[in-house]
């Protein structure tokens, strides 16, 4: 009796293990960031030569913004003041805003520290820091594809948003007023403790220039 019970339990356990294995291998392929999973950590230098470590911001909401000041889609949001306004609102509320410049030397949007700082002053931008990712390591970690590509990490370190800045995939600043700004919406929802209603959206813009 207990022998057969043992056998039966063994077979059942083995089958369950098999199912878990299938599910496990299903999840294991692909890689890259996933909304609802811990945001991959990174360490990089900012425009002032200071080291920025994502994990250090635990307890705070962090926005990652891929940028390239030559890209027409980035210009749409900076030329209109849309991005600066959002940065200002966010940082006033204690959000850490990291603008990430991944263009390698020689590519459009490449900035060194002084150039990045000058651009912040010129545009009246309000990021917490400008991260210089000249070897594209952070871009690769996050699989950033376009500028602007936006990510939000909640205070627990979970990735809660990835996608576009809004729902109007154009380079035309005239489309900003009627657009649904996903980042503003998500930050508002996070602040009031609600789940992000649109956590994965279409990121639109120019290709991120990867270091080869």
């Amino acid at each position: 009796m207990d022998k057969r019970g043992f056998l039966k339990a063994g077979v059942t356990a083995a089958m369950l293990a098999g199912a878990v294995l299938i599910a496990g291998t299903a999840g294991a392929t692909g890689g890259g960031p996933l909304v609802g999973s811990p945001a991959p950590n990174f360490t990089a230098k900012d425009s002032n030569g200071k080291t920025v470590n994502l994990a250090d911001f635990k307890g705070k909401t962090v926005v990652l913004e891929w940028t390239n000041n030559g890209c027409p889609f980035v210009r749409k949001h900076y030329g209109s003041g849309n991005m600066q306004k959002l940065q200002d609102e966010a940082t006033r509320n204690g959000v850490v805003w990291l603008s990430i410049a991944s263009s390698p030397p020689g590519m459009q949007g490449h900035v060194d520290g002084p150039a990045a700082n000058a651009e912040v002053v010129r545009a009246g931008a309000k990021p917490t820091a400008v991260v210089l990712d000249h070897n594209s390591v952070v871009a690769k970690t996050y699989q950033a594809r376009v500028t602007p590509h936006m990510y939000i990490v909640d205070p627990k370190g979970t990735l809660v948003y990835m996608g576009g800045i809004d729902d109007k995939a154009t380079a035309n600043p005239a489309d900003i007023p009627g657009a649904r700004n996903y980042v503003r919406e998500a930050l508002g929802e996070l602040k009031s403790g609600k789940p992000v209603s649109a956590p994965n959206t279409r990121a639109y813009g120019c290709t991120v220039h990867y270091a080869s």
């Binding site: 043992f6 056998l7 294995l21 392929t29 030559g70 027409p72 991120v208």
Partner: protein
């Protein structure tokens, strides 16, 4: 007031002057793109549809975008200002190009592209009117950097009672239409997992032998981010057609969503080497086999997979094989053997374990060797290839059935060792038995691994020989591992249940997974060989059962004459059962033919050299269509050209005798005929004029309706 009015008038005039050149500009030349609005008709008829194109001539290295731009970019947009009653449809997108940008991929157009738009003239337009079509076009043009550009283009099209083609535009529009995808002659289904980073499986229904003619395939998804644009796509040809594993993108599809796109197919050189682009919409298929989705998910994860990862996955896959209903009973049979010999020397158990591993590995290597040899011979096939031959399926079904009868207790191999060579080998005492148990486990695993491991093995076969062998070995090792561990660590044997009466019950229970497998195999066979195949299989099983029953009687019969009678009847029954294996048909390809095709088939007579001679002797022109059921180009030509009403009517009116040569089974006479025209494969279309003095004309491999009509006009 007067000066004000004058100023206003002057301003209006100035505005008109400033706007006029812009408004009527066509083409518009920007720094990177020359945009032209063109109409195919010189005059449009009221209420009729005609083609308009936005042509973009792009400077070298720059590109504009498809409807799904890929990882970045934007598709070209047109906002129309049309006369009341006129309507413009959405852009009909030409087949895009894959444009890699670093690790990312864009879908777009380089050099010169026509974005075609069907426009309908107003019903109430009158001959003599002019239709003013104004297109406000916006596009993004990119190289490494991107520039948004726009142009307002105006085209005036006269209205006439009947429309006339603009001869200057004929060629351009023909080129534009040639760049469009062809409606797919296949149906398709999609199974989306709903979460990023898993695999979306696209199943294209086509006969297995047609899928086997495909060298390269790429699916352009119309839906943005449903799949990872930059990922390598793994395609496997199998019994159910072509299975494409698409790594799911950041915005996964819902389970009930359809997936539209363009399927880009390149045939193998020996199958014609043509390239096709099919517009295809895959319907969501919740019934698509979970096993299929799960394994393609696990094993075809794209280009990032290293040899070690692939071997790891293969090892896991091998472990899983132990739980398959076809393998577990075998393994258990052996485990029972171990239980019995547990009391015996441990070194012997260890030896048995190693021999079992050797048996499994040898079988996997044999299969891998055969597969690689076939691949070297120019064939690329999936694991399921064994199952494609009906005789093999039937043989396996009989084996399963016989083992099931044995396990159920109908007979014992100890009594008469006549049935199931494989099984009797495993029953051999000593090392030989262990080795053959390993071999049998692999043979028996095939029906289970076919659906499960197709993707992994497809991956292995796409690798260099060494990698492929490594993957097969890992698969085999995984399969042998549990048994090996038991024999190496006999302590674990203590956890195995002790022998007792339960063993007989368990053995009998194990008959049912065997019968279930046999039933499944018979089902597979019914799919392949139809009701007649099913009848043969069931007859064979009855004969096997009868033969076994006869042999069992031998024990109780003393008279030599009776013994001989029983034995001969048993032998006859077994031979008849084996005969069903020889008699079984190969897969029926014709079953997938549609009624429409059969209707047009009726207009064709079978080709033979004599039929050609006979028709020509009667002074009739002859059209010969050399085709094959597995030939994609042939199928496309039949759909787009040969079976259209215009072509069928024209053929009938011209009194053309239509002969079809079916090369599906590589008929020798057709092979020779192909060789006469310097061809080694199908399609081949030959038109013999009625006048015997004229030489036969060979038509292009890719037909168009207009092309055939023009050829028939020349008769």
């Amino acid at each position: 007031m007067k000066p004000v009015l004058a100023k206003a008038l002057a301003a209006a005039a100035l505005a008109a002057l400033l706007c006029a050149p812009l408004a009527s500009a066509n083409p518009v030349k920007t720094e990177r793109v020359t945009a032209t609005l063109e109409s195919e008709v010189a005059a449009a008829a009221p209420g009729e549809k005609f083609w308009v194109a936005l042509r973009q001539q792009i400077i070298p290295k720059w590109h504009t975008y498809w409807i799904n731009p890929g990882d970045s970019g934007l598709p070209t947009e047109i906002t129309w200002k049309l006369p009341a009653g006129a309507a413009a449809e959405p852009i009909v997108w030409p087949v895009p190009k894959r444009i890699p940008v670093g690790p990312l991929v864009n879908y777009g157009y380089e050099t010169d592209v026509r974005l075609l738009v069907p426009v309908t003239a107003p019903r109430d337009a009158r001959p003599g009117d002019t239709l003013r079509l104004e297109a406000q076009a916006r596009w993004l043009v990119c190289e490494e950097i991107c520039i948004p550009e726009e142009a307002t283009l105006v085209l005036e099209v006269p209205v006439a009672a009947a429309s006339t083609i603009d001869q200057n535009k004929r060629e351009g529009f023909a080129a534009g239409r040639a760049a469009l995808p062809t409606p797919a002659p296949f149906t398709a289904a999609v199974a989306a997992p709903g979460t990023p980073q898993a695999t979306t499986t696209l199943q294209i229904d086509m006969p297995a032998d047609m899928a086997a003619t495909i060298k390269d395939v790429y699916f352009f998804s119309e839906r943005i981010d449903a799949v990872v644009h930059a990922a390598r796509q793994t395609a496997t040809a199998g019994r159910s057609g072509l299975t494409i594993a698409l790594p799911t993108g950041p915005l996964p599809m819902k389970a009930d969503e359809s997936l539209s796109g363009i399927l880009h197919v390149v045939e193998k050189p020996e199958a014609g080497g043509q390239t096709h682009a099919f517009a295809i919409t895959a319907k969501p298929d919740p019934n698509m086999r979970l096993a299929l989705a799960a394994t393609t998910t696990g094993n075809a994860g794209g280009d990032g997979i290293s040899i070690l990862e692939a071997m790891g996955l293969a090892l896991l896959g091998g472990l899983l094989l132990n739980l398959m209903p076809c393998v577990f009973p075998i393994l258990s049979m052996k485990a029972l053997g171990l239980v019995q010999s547990a009391a015996a020397a441990r070194s012997q158990a260890r030896l048995h374990g190693l021999l079992y591993v050797a048996g499994v590995l040898a079988s996997f290597l044999a299969v891998a060797g055969a597969l690689l040899a076939l691949r070297a011979g120019g064939e690329s096939i999936g694991w399921g290839f064994q199952l494609q031959s009906s005789w093999f399926v039937l043989l396996l079904a009989y084996l399963m059935f016989t083992i099931g009868l044995n396990l159920a207790g109908l007979f014992d191999f100890a009594g008469g060792r006549l049935a199931g060579i494989g099984d009797s080998l495993t029953r051999r005492s000593g090392g030989g038995g262990a080795f053959f148990t390993g071999v049998l486990a692999v043979v028996v695993a095939t029906p289970c691994t076919a659906p499960f491991m197709g993707a992994a093995l497809g991956f292995a076969l796409a690798q260099p020989t060494v990698t492929a062998l490594a993957i097969f070995l890992a698969l085999g090792l995984g399969m042998a591992l549990p048994f090996l561990l038991l024999s190496l660590f006999p302590q674990a044997l203590r956890f195995l249940p002790r022998p007792g009466p339960w063993m007989e019950r368990f053995r009998q229970f194990l008959a049912f997974p065997m019968f279930a497998t046999a039933a499944w195999l018979v089902w597979v066979l019914a799919q392949q060989s139809g009701p007649n195949g099913l009848a043969l299989a069931l007859t064979g099983m009855v004969l096997i059962g009868f033969a076994i029953w006869l042999l069992r009687q031998l024990g109780g019969v003393r008279k030599v004459a009776s013994r001989v009678a029983y034995a001969s009847f048993a032998a006859i029954a077994l031979l008849a059962a084996l005969g069903t294996i020889a008699a079984i048909d190969s897969p029926v390809v014709a079953a997938t033919q549609s009624n429409e095709k059969q209707a047009s088939d009726a207009e064709w007579q079978a080709w033979s050299p004599q039929a050609v001679e006979q028709a020509r002797a009667q002074g009739k022109p002859v059209f010969v269509n050399f085709t094959a059921a597995w030939c994609i180009t042939c199928l496309v030509n039949e759909r787009t050209s040969l079976s259209t009403d215009a072509v069928r009517n024209k053929l009938a009116l011209s009194g053309v005798v239509r002969l079809k040569g079916d090369w599906t089974r590589r008929d020798k006479a057709i092979t020779d005929a192909l060789a006469e025209f310097g061809r080694s494969g199908v399609p081949l279309y030959v038109l013999y004029p009625a006048d015997k003095a004229q030489k036969p004309r060979v038509l292009p491999q890719i037909l168009t309706e207009a092309g055939i009509l023009a050829e028939l006009d020349r008769l």
